[in-house]
């Protein structure tokens, strides 16, 4: 644990008389800050409602209840219904092989199952479209998104599988259940929380993604909103579709809460759980190896192969350093600044949820998560209209982009921060206050410092999201901005795939260490 030294300030009373009063005065401040952040996060949601009211029911219903919206709804629902179970099955199979069997090289396969996260979704699509130029439609969408997003499910499922107490399985086996049924009736139900959380994450990504589906010509609400935006800027049709998309996201959240249920998952009983015994694969080893090998080939082999081809075909000519340098710089500034701002904004909420949990705190926290599930296109559309109509000085400024990032990625920062604030003893904070530190300084010098590792991990996750963000950046960024993602997109839009390749490579290189961090963290959380 980090050493925290607290010196008594000269002249400060040993037992400050206003101590209790001060601690109380800190609560409204933190609560106020948390409310402010939540309100900022609620802007897009409120905006969608406001626009619907403004548009008037007649126009709104004409724009919502039309065949095109029906088509998009069918597309989007089919995509989610097909992709999420596929991702889940793949993730469970890979997790079981890497965690519970004696598969040779399990650790490597485990890392390789997570590594595709370092490849931005639209780069996956770019790789596939280079390999199979005619790829399009629902099948292609399901294929590429399963490859791109199943690591989001693999991470929680494999972590949960590692932590399971094998005692339960032994009990079931001793009652005469064959191994297959033990897995179905004992192991799988215990993975429900991990599966739900991961599936929700995948579902929300499917609803929000633009680049992946635009490239393989599969229309979802998000791609249609961008089409409308490119034709009408922030016209009513775009806003109405954004409203429908918001309803889709909220339904997913509701569905998740419904399925998750209230069952108890914690282990009871004395002592520590023993390490699970690894299943011998025996003669099945070779066929079983095919799954991780196949997945790695599709999810990493294909992008690396096609990227390599384009890089070789482009040669030195595509490395225009006077263009790539500034794009890299702007991406880095946005990612680091956005990470810092978002993490700072998460502090009040994280502090409240640990130190002063209550109804207000639960409502505020829920707001942040709900809004964090909204696609970038909805957030950006709202901020464009708000800034251009009422907050013109903020229009097309870096501050607005950062606000969008904050709204979109706050949950990522919150999760890590909350856990590590909980591990910082409240007594140390109180001791610092009793030694004359103002509440803010006590928080800063004790809790924040102790929570720093968690905060840093959260910040890295936010930065990862920002570095690969396309839609909101495109719609909100100041004039002349060019990030790696937007540069990549504009080249690949003109099917200059070779010129786009260096940008794709750089995005992957930036994301790799962050993905590694994520992998290591999930291992550590499971005690390894």
């Amino acid at each position: 644990m980090t050493q925290v030294s607290i010196e008594r300030r000269p002249g400060a009373p040993v037992f400050p008389t206003g101590f209790r009063w001060r601690r109380r005065s800190f609560l409204p401040l933190m609560a106020g800050a948390a409310v402010l952040v939540a309100l900022a996060a609620l802007l897009p949601l409120g905006f969608v409602l406001w626009v619907t009211v403004q548009t008037g029911w007649e126009t709104a219903s004409a724009l919502i209840f039309r065949p095109r919206v029906g088509e998009l709804l069918v597309n989007t629902v089919l995509l989610v219904v097909l992709t999420v179970p596929l991702c889940a099955a793949l993730a469970v199979a890979l997790a079981w092989l890497t965690e519970r069997s004696d598969l040779p090289g399990a650790r490597i396969w485990s890392w390789l199952a997570v590594a595709p996260l370092a490849v931005p979704a639209f780069v996956h699509s770019y790789a596939w479209i280079s390999l199979v130029p005619g790829l399009n439609g629902l099948f292609a969408a399901v294929l590429v998104s399963t490859i791109a997003y199943s690591p989001l499910l693999y991470l929680p499922v494999s972590a949960a599988l590692r932590r399971l107490d094998p005692g339960l399985e032994d009990a079931a086996a001793s009652l005469g259940e064959p191994p297959g049924r033990v897995f179905l009736r004992v192991v799988l139900p215990q993975l429900r929380l991990a599966l739900c959380g991961g599936a929700l994450l995948v579902g929300l990504h499917l609803l929000a993604e633009y680049g992946l589906f635009a490239m393989i010509r599969f229309d979802t609400f998000t791609t249609a909103i961008i089409d409308q935006f490119q034709s009408t800027y922030n016209g009513p049709a775009a806003n109405m579709m954004a409203g429908v998309l918001v309803v889709c996201c909220l339904s997913l959240l509701w569905l998740d809460a419904l399925i998750r249920g209230r069952t108890r998952y914690a282990r009871i009983g004395p002592g520590a759980a023993r390490q699970p015994r690894l299943t011998r694969l025996g003669r099945m080893t070779l066929p079983c190896l095919l799954l991780p090998i196949g997945f790695a080939a599709l999810s990493l082999g294909v992008p690396l192969l096609t990227l390599g081809q384009w890089l070789a075909a482009g040669g030195a000519a595509i490395w225009k350093l006077d263009e790539i340098g500034p794009a890299l710089w702007q991406t880095a500034v946005f990612a680091i600044a956005g990470g810092a701002v978002t993490t700072a904004a998460a502090i009040p909420m994280a502090w409240l949820s640990v130190r002063r949990p209550g109804r207000l705190q639960r409502v505020l926290e829920a707001c942040n998560y709900v809004v964090g599930s909204l696609p970038g296109v909805v957030v950006a559309l709202a901020l464009v209209t708000i800034t251009v109509r009422v907050a013109l000085p903020l229009y097309q400024t870096a501050a607005t982009v950062l606000l969008a990032y904050l709204v979109m990625f706050l949950p990522r920062a919150l999760i890590g921060l909350r856990a590590s604030v909980a591990q910082a003893p409240v007594e140390l904070e109180q001791a610092a206050a009793s030694l004359g530190r103002s509440p803010g300084r006590a928080l800063w010098s004790v809790t924040i410092r102790l929570a720093a590792p968690g905060a840093a991990a959260g910040m890295a996750l936010v930065a990862l999201g920002i570095a690969n963000e396309l839609t909101a950046t495109q719609m909100l960024a100041p004039n002349g901005t060019r990030t790696l993602a937007t540069a990549f997109w504009s080249y690949s839009g003109e099917i200059d795939y070779a010129a786009a390749a260096p940008y794709a490579l750089l995005m992957i290189l930036i994301s790799l260490p962050l993905t590694w961090l994520l992998y290591v963290q999930s291992k550590r959380s499971a005690g390894r």
């Binding site: 039309r66 005619g134 490119q230 034709s231 009408t232 004039n479 839009g493 099917i495």
Partner: protein, 342 residues
Amino acid sequence: MRPFTRSFASVAALATVLLAAPAALLSRPALAEDDGIVVYNAQHENLTKAWAEGFTKETGIKVTLRNGSDTELGNQLVQEGAASPADVFLTENSPAMVLVDNAGLFAPLGQEVLSQVPDNFRPSHGRWVGIAARSTVFAYDKTKLKPEQLPKSLLDLADPAWKGRWGASPSGADFQAIVSALLVLKGETATADWLKAMKANFVPFRGNSTAMKAVNAGQVDGAVIYHYYYFGDQAKTGENSKNVALHYFRNQDPGAFVSISGGGVLASSKHQQQAQAFLKWITGKGGQDILKTGDSYEYAVGVGAESNPKLVPLADLQAPKVEPSALNSKAVTDLMTRAGLL
């Protein structure tokens, strides 16, 4: 209340610093805005970049680009109104220019700009000018279609015989400009009917290059796009147009529409002189020569300017006469939204 105010002040200060620091770091383009011009650019990025570089080299005036599509930036300018940071607006097609002009946002252009562009490439009111032109074509798979199997008119593509056989990029400003010409030439009912048939017949792509690539790969027999995508690809490797040939509809058909790319100066611009100078440069020798020699393959429109010799001469295209200021982007997106294309 001192501790309260103090910590509140420090929180506020922290927030300000956190938001302002990156803004300052990223403000290099913003600084450029002060001593140069901001161009809202819907033209191909490469072309405008070449224009901007040439202009900056000659005049020392810096140019900052904001890239987007025609109607996106046009509608954006209308929303921004007098507060717009833009000095110049360049498009690929005329409808977005009409949109901004109808909102009264363009400043009249000086005679030295107007006199460089012949009458048929600019509206008579002189608030914007043509900067380049492009022709509608039917890019087809020459391994599949013989010349006699080609559609005689754009309207023929509504025929059930063409079901699933042709492509277009409906969300693109280029195709929407073609529809706007159809609207002017044939009226609303005919256009709405054609769009309805199109929805049933066509295969959607995002971007004209992608549509041409699909023709080349044999996914569709043909696509309604502009001519220069073919020439651009041929000049590079030709890998996306090996099997492609261009069919010009001619005969004043709506499908022979020649679309005028426009340029205008915003009335709200605080750099009127520099902005006018930029348009003068583009429509003058320097800018038009880039059209002839560069890799854009768009037609030059300046008085006496020559286009790339590889292109079919503009005069041979038998384009229909369409008054550029009559093209209506709003009506087109509404019609296309109603037809379920958007």
